[in-house]
């Protein structure tokens, strides 16, 4: 499945949302970096473009904050990979950030709604 930018339909991630998405993908279990990228892209129906550089820097940032922890393991392809797991602190952050995001999204759509009606 190609992950490079092949069409106009893909969108760059909004500032600050990458952390939230990473945390969300880790709810279901630990994953390595490439797995996280693939999952985000697939779950957004290939709308989001995940810049791999940003992803790894974001992972490092989350690890530094103590929201995820990382350990080397063996992947499904039988390769060495670094697996990221959500910590308790990370879970709390996820809940907080999700509700925050919902409030923001709702507010934005409310503002945009009348305009949309006019189109």
């Amino acid at each position: 499945m190609p992950s490079q930018n092949t069409g106009n339909e893909k969108e760059a991630l909004l500032q600050g949302t990458l952390d939230l998405l990473i945390l969300r993908t880790l709810v279901l279990g630990s994953r390595h970096g490439q797995g996280i990228a693939r999952l985000i892209q697939r779950q957004s129906d290939e709308v989001f473009l995940v810049d791999h550089g940003s992803l790894y820097l974001a992972l490092q940032r989350l690890e530094d904050k103590g929201w995820v922890k990382a350990a080397w393991g063996v992947s499904e392809n039988n390769r060495k990979a670094r697996f990221y797991t959500l910590t308790a602190k990370g879970r709390k952050q996820l809940a907080q950030k999700t509700s925050q995001w919902r409030r923001v999204a709702k507010a934005i759509s409310r503002i945009l709604a009348p305009g949309e009606a006019g189109v």
Partner: protein
């Protein structure tokens, strides 16, 4: 978080590799070949190196990272060029070291607060009479009481006076020491506490209790620093005083050699003289503490008014009309302040020369490192990175120079204290303290910035050009630096020249007597001897000294090298006048011993006894001043302020003798026979036929054996005393001379370096010139013209600068004006000579260039 172990970069790199492998696994489903899949994965990932760099830089103090790299680089660089580095470090060490040493002195003498509570509020109060040029007159107790009662701007005032006493010792004659007679509010006013015991109370003062507070020095020396000393007796002269306290070692007020403080009422003089002294008896010093928040201006104007009131209320007292407020800080540092500031200015100028030199050297190095810079630029070094690196390099040099300078300063300071004049207050306390260290650090940073500024700026713009480092702009800035160096050197040289000229003029002043092979000793009989006993003692002492082998003659005078004028004099037939001569008693053949010629009349003889008519010998200045068109012999005068004041007849006129210091004009002088004007303290002078130092001990023991109760005295040579008088000037002159020599040397190095570089750069051109027929002399002229033009421009601007700056020196000069022609002709000549010498070596090298080799060069 800093306590967590940092994730290593290669761990991150492995993760990326793992990612790429997984990505390739995914892609392989579509692509046929693994290699293609891997390439596609890489493409989709983007710039791996950039990401790894971003990871590396994440959470790091990047500046430090770069700095430490620059530092390592700088160290390697200088290690590999020891000659260059040594020149730069030594130059900076010289500049920074001299600044540090002089700053340590300034810190100790001028900047450090005096060791009293809120010293900025303390002031000396003097009587003054501007009309008669009296600025620091003392005050009578009655006047002082009025000052204190009427002043609102002063919180408190206290009077004090110095006295000497004899302190008996277990072995040999008693020692003469200085005491201070003070009032009970003296210590509280200064805010100083004793380290042992207590000070006396106002009650004890009013009762005139015999109590004494010891100096730390006396306590240590005589009582072994024992606390048992409290309550024991101290025998001052013949009176008993109870010791009640000891002051700290740092407390030396009011006189540096004060050993005992006692209530002013406890001394026998209190009852005999001071208690009922008249308003005209102005012998007391006054110290005051101003109220918080009050300005000196305000205090001065208030006291001026009080002075005028007292003048009109007591016209009969003939007191000085003014009162002068001098802050204690000004009083202590006033005389030395200007010369220290001049010295500091000169070392700052010297540092500027050092920095200029280093800047020049760095520029020259920069052009030699052109290739290195090009490579760095090609590898992507930016303007900021370049500047940072050059600054770091000069910082390394400056800090090395600063450290070496600190070591130089430490030993220089020792020499300054050892050889410095005695009259700089608190000089011996100068040392390298945290303030000085901070100063040195700032100086090193300044030197680093100042010397690297231009080279660093150049490195930035040079990037725009391919051959950046040898442009016309660079060459001209190097020229400007040499010009600046020469101007500064000229200013310093002119200053030192003026001081030196003053010193030479002063040394050539005829003192009016022959100071060589002359011994002098001050003998104080102290109280308790009648006038006849005093006369007899000194006659006998002179007699005994006369018969010591190696002595040619001996005599005595009240004070050989110092005398103050009397209050007023009355010449017969004229009203009393205030411009009065000095009046001193002499015993024995004084004029013959001192080597003062008789101009008219006669010397004193044994016939001039106590009961015979009063006679005087005057100096030529007095004869000229009071009897300008007349023969002074047989004229009569008297001193109205003396009791009794008989008419005194002039019997002789002698040549002038400098008794008020060589720098001052000779004052009118009256000499009278000791028998007719007795005194208990005389300077005995002894003329020897061989080395006076070797004869001194036998003279001393011969006189000392005369009376065991007379205090121990020191014997010195007059040469030594005169040397102490000129010590300050010698100190300033030699330091200024030293600094200007260093400046001369540094600017010589500067111009040498420049011309050396000039020749190296133009080897090609010189080769062509020679191939085309230029002679050796043409090439020599080429180099000299270049070098000497710069030197000449520097000298001209320097002369202009010196004209402006030497005016500040005027009060330190003697006999020369700040624009002394001789100095302003010599200094440029010396500089030009040094410049030619410095140009000569590169010029000769240039003239010996082999054209063939030169053309192949590069």
């Amino acid at each position: 978080m800093f306590w967590r172990k940092k994730r290593p970069s290669n761990d991150f790199a492995q993760e990326i590799n793992s990612h790429l492998a997984h990505e390739a696994d995914d892609l392989q489903q579509n692509e046929r070949r693994r290699a293609d899949a891997e390439a596609a994965a890489r493409r989709s990932f983007g710039n791996v190196t950039l990401l790894q760099e971003a990871f590396y830089q994440r959470g790091r103090w990047l500046l430090w990272d770069q700095l430490s790299r620059d530092f390592r680089h700088a160290f390697r660089l200088f290690w590999r060029r020891p000659g260059f580095s040594a020149v730069v470090v030594l130059t900076l060490a010289l500049g920074i070291g001299s600044n540090t040493a002089i700053f340590s002195v300034i810190n100790a003498v001028l900047l450090r607060p005096l060791p009293y509570r809120e010293p900025a509020r303390l002031a000396m109060l003097w009587s003054e009479d501007p009309a008669h040029n009296v600025q620091e007159g003392r005050v009578s107790l009655l006047n002082f009481a009025d000052w204190k009662a009427r002043s609102r701007t002063f919180e408190d005032m206290t009077p004090f006076i110095g006295q000497t006493f004899l302190l008996g010792s277990k072995d040999g004659p008693p020692e003469r020491m200085r005491s201070a007679r003070i009032s009970a509010n003296f210590f509280p006013l200064l805010g100083v506490e004793p380290i042992l015991g207590r000070v006396f109370s106002p009650d004890e003062e009013s009762r005139g209790e015999s109590v004494a507070v010891l100096s730390y020095g006396l306590w240590q020396r005589r009582f072994g620093g024992s606390s048992q000393v409290l309550g024991s007796d101290l025998i001052l002269d013949a009176r008993k005083s109870r010791i009640i306290g000891v002051m700290p070692a740092s407390f030396q007020y009011p006189f540096a050699d004060t050993q005992v403080w006692e209530p002013m009422t406890a001394h026998p003089y209190w009852a005999a003289r001071d208690r009922a002294s008249p308003r005209s008896s102005s012998i007391w010093y006054a110290l005051g503490r101003i109220r918080p928040g009050t300005g000196w201006q305000e205090a001065q104007s208030e006291l001026t008014v009080i002075g005028r009131q007292l003048q009109s209320e007591h016209p009969e007292s003939k007191n000085l009309p003014g009162i002068r407020v001098v802050p204690l800080y000004t009083q202590t540092t006033g005389r030395i302040r200007l010369s220290l500031i001049v010295l500091f200015g000169s070392v700052v100028l010297m540092l500027l020369i050092a920095c200029t030199n280093v800047a020049n050297l760095l520029l020259a190095r920069g052009s030699a490192r052109e290739r290195e810079f090009s490579v760095r630029r090609a590898l992507g070094a930016g303007r900021v990175a370049f500047t940072a690196q050059l600054l770091t390099e000069s910082l390394v040099l400056s800090v090395a120079g600063g450290s070496l300078g600190l070591a130089l300063a430490a030993s220089g300071l020792k020499a300054l204290i050892a050889f410095g004049p005695r009259d700089i207050p608190r000089l011996e306390e100068a040392h390298i303290d945290p303030h000085v260290l901070l100063f040195t650090l700032c100086l090193s940073l300044f030197a680093a910035t100042a010397s690297a500024l231009w080279p660093a700026m150049r490195s930035g713009t040079a990037l725009a050009r391919s051959r950046g480092w040898n442009t016309i702009a660079d060459r001209s800035i190097r020229n400007v630096l040499v010009v600046v160096e020469f101007s500064i050197a000229l200013v310093l040289l002119a200053g030192a020249g003026l001081m030196l000229h003053s010193f030479v003029l002063l040394q050539s002043v005829n003192p009016g007597f022959r100071p060589e092979k002359l011994l002098v000793m001050r003998i104080d009989l102290h109280i308790g001897k009648t006038a006849d006993q005093q006369v007899a003692y000194f006659r006998e002492a002179i007699e005994r000294a006369r018969f010591v082998p190696g002595v040619r003659s001996a005599a005595a005078i009240t004070d050989l090298l110092r005398s103050d004028p009397e209050d007023s004099v009355e010449i017969e037939g004229r009203p009393p006048q205030q411009n009065a001569p000095c009046d001193d008693g002499i015993a024995g053949p004084f004029f013959e011993t001192a080597g003062i010629p008789l101009k008219q009349g006669r010397f004193f003889s044994d016939q001039d006894r106590r009961d015979s008519p009063p006679v005087a010998i005057i100096n030529e200045t007095m004869a000229r001043l009071y009897w300008p068109n007349d023969d002074p012999l047989e004229k009569r005068f008297r001193f109205p302020s003396q009791q009794p004041n008989p008419w005194i007849t002039v019997v002789g006129v002698t040549g002038d003798m400098h008794r008020q210091g060589l720098e001052n004009q000779v004052a009118p002088q009256v000499f009278r026979p000791h028998a007719q004007e007795t005194d208990d303290m005389l300077d005995v002078i002894v003329r020897t036929s061989s080395d006076p130092q070797t004869i001194a001990p036998s003279v001393q023991s011969a006189i000392q054996s005369l009376d065991k109760t007379v205090a121990r005295f020191n014997v010195t040579t007059v040469d030594q005393l005169l040397g102490e008088q000129t010590a300050s000037r010698r100190f300033q002159t030699s330091l200024l001379g030293l600094f200007s020599l260093a400046a001369l040397l540094l600017s010589a190095i500067g111009i040498y370096g420049l011309m050396h570089f000039f020749v190296a750069q133009r080897t090609n051109e010189i080769g062509v010139r020679m191939a085309l027929g230029a002679r050796q002399s043409n090439i020599l002229a080429l180099v000299f013209r270049q070098g000497l033009t710069l030197a000449a421009i520097g000298i001209v601007t320097g002369v202009l600068g010196a004209f402006a700056l030497t005016r500040l020196l005027s009060t330190l000069l003697y006999g020369v004006t700040p624009t002394d022609i001789a100095t302003f002709a010599t200094a440029p000549a010396i500089l030009l000579g040094v410049a030619s010498l410095a140009c000569w070596i590169p010029a000769r090298r240039a003239s010996r260039i082999d054209p063939m080799l030169a053309l192949r060069h590069d």
